[in-house]
């Protein structure tokens, strides 16, 4: 039963529960954060300055410019392909790599159509609806008679 010890390098931060029941977690930084007063407002004082190609200090300022008038339309970009959204499904208790693919999977669809949503419906049933139905807005569904 050999203990392998390793020393934390400065600067570091180590956090552990005082009862020592759990694994400590720690951080070893190249340098400890400092308040940088020279960052322009509204940048975070902890923003790390990046140097651009000309070697000048550059801080990305995210403040938006005032909106253009609606007539000035910028170039319309072709939307990038829908990024695959990764995530975790609470219904299926399963990680997924592609949201749309997962939602359409048999397992998820079984859940989606199950009575698990009763808890939501019970709440919905108590809502009064003070909106009118906009009949003219109802999309016209073309129904074809399937004459076989």
């Amino acid at each position: 039963d050999q203990k392998i010890k390793s020393k934390l390098k400065n600067p570091f931060l180590k956090v552990e529960d005082r009862r020592c029941h759990y694994r400590p977690f720690y951080l070893q930084l190249s340098s400890f954060p400092v308040v940088n007063y020279s960052n322009p407002r509204p940048c975070s004082p902890f923003d790390v300055e990046k140097k651009n190609a000309n070697g000048q200090k550059q801080i990305h300022n995210k403040q938006r410019k005032p909106a253009h008038s609606d007539r000035e339309k910028g170039p319309v970009q072709v939307p990038a392909k829908h990024k695959r959204k990764k995530g975790y499904c609470e219904c299926c208790m399963k990680k997924y790599d592609d949201l749309h693919a997962h939602v359409e999977s048999e397992q998820h669809q079984n859940f989606a159509q199950s009575s698990q949503y009763q808890v939501v419906d019970d709440i919905i049933s108590k809502f009064p609806c003070d909106f009118l139905e906009l009949r003219e807005n109802t999309p016209k569904v073309k129904r074809r008679k399937c004459s076989v």
């Binding site: 934390l8 407002r41 253009h68 995530g87 998820h108 909106f131 009118l132």
Partner: protein, 554 residues
Amino acid sequence: MEAVHLDEQPPLNAENSFKKYESNKKGAITDIERLYQAVPQLANVFKIKGKIGEGTFSSVYLAIGQLRGGHEEKVALKHLIPTSHPVRIAAELQCLIIAGGQDNVMGVKYCFRKNDHVVIVMPYLEHESFLDILNSLSFEEVRNYMFNLLKALKRIHHFGIVHRDVKPSNFLYNRQLQQYALVDFGLAQGTPETKVDLLKVIQSETQQKSCTYNKPLITLESQVTSPTSRQPVHHSATKTANKRLCSISQTQIKQGHKRKEDPECRSVQRSVFGERNFNVRSSAFQARSTVRQPRIMDIPVRKLSVKKKTTSVVNNGLGKKTASSTSAKLTCDCYAKDSVCSVCLSRRQQVAPRAGTPGFRAPEVLTKCPNQTTAIDMWSAGIIFLSLLSGRYPFYKASDDLTALAQIMTIRGSRETIQAAKTFGKSILCSKEIPAQDLRKLCERLRGKNTNFDNSAGDIQVNPSQEFALPAGIGNASDSALQTSKKHMYQKQSGHEDDGREKKTTQKPSDLKGWDKIPNSAYDLLDKLLDLNPATRITAKDALLHPFFKTMKQ
């Protein structure tokens, strides 16, 4: 509308969001069409105008509907991600119903569902981008903003709701109308006394059994998803939910032992009390450990779990006894030292809720304290106040919890942080001692309008006369003593009148907007909101009674 969990992203007003999505018009239109397809009833009631926000767990659209009275009304449609658990969805609705609709807490008008697609209809409040207006607000506006934020927090805390994600993009502000709305209960948790029933289902950490050693794997609960198990519901929905969730609780899902956050330090984790991990044996000191760790993906993880009966649910064949006896074997002498070893690193990780946005997380969240209270929201309010007073947003910028903690220490002091952490059972070791900053000097210097002191380079430190020697002892007694002495810290300073009012003097240039005369009470309140000890941190109720607001209508 809600700009949900877009960390470092200011909220969008409708106009700007259209701009934002303009470049992606095609995408936005298909999103709207998709929403109509997913929830067809919407088309009978609303004209969806555009997408105004997108987060990890929802997208928000602006829509127009006709009221029975005949006139039109703008609404925000929040389309929840279809992977949300029904109990979580219902809990969010319950929060909106119970706490919402007054005191600056967003209410709910209606809700639509088709299968796994749920759309919450809320009043639409056009609002500013925090970042855009931050440096044009008058001091009086800041005071009103904070007062109204605290009003909202007082209300939700009264109902035993911990919001967990208080930040500017979840607190809508309409400057012209002076209207405010706290939004997004998608991460909310209940206190033990919560009045929101369904938040009780989402378990509180204190009742949680510690997790045990086991092989990390993901089990699927097949019985749960069986479509044939459509039983008539004899009991209340809550009970059903409870029952169902209990069955879920026996399934454990492993989370990586090192969850990376993306560089934009967006928090996408929606961990829940009772989230359980397998212990992960570190491979750092064990070449090719026999425990296979699945590759951890950097993905949003939301875990729903359950309030477990104290009559022990089988926990993967191992109960608490096993866990504690195992930890007993895992003693080493690294505690509070600058080392780690194969023994301490082989202990299981502590699991505590972390959901929220890194820069707004309280120290007890960052250090994985299992008992988190409504005080975590008060810390977040303090961070917002810090932004308002310093003109900096986001104030903290960290990609992980410990970097965020290091940044907090840089402002509040390392000794102070370590001292406070002891009171909630955490030992922090920091290789460098960093003095606490004087909040007024810090904020004035960051705003760049310092009228009261010389703006020389170098870190500003607390005036030694105002620094408190920390008692050697630990625990609440010494801590409250510290609090008491702190109380008078700002009153002791001379040179600033604490009248709690913006003085109107005709000679002052109007562009100062009150920023030349900030009362000490402002920094005193900030100090109390950013109290490192959650037990003594000011509550929303007390904050509203603070001298800083003394001239305001309660």
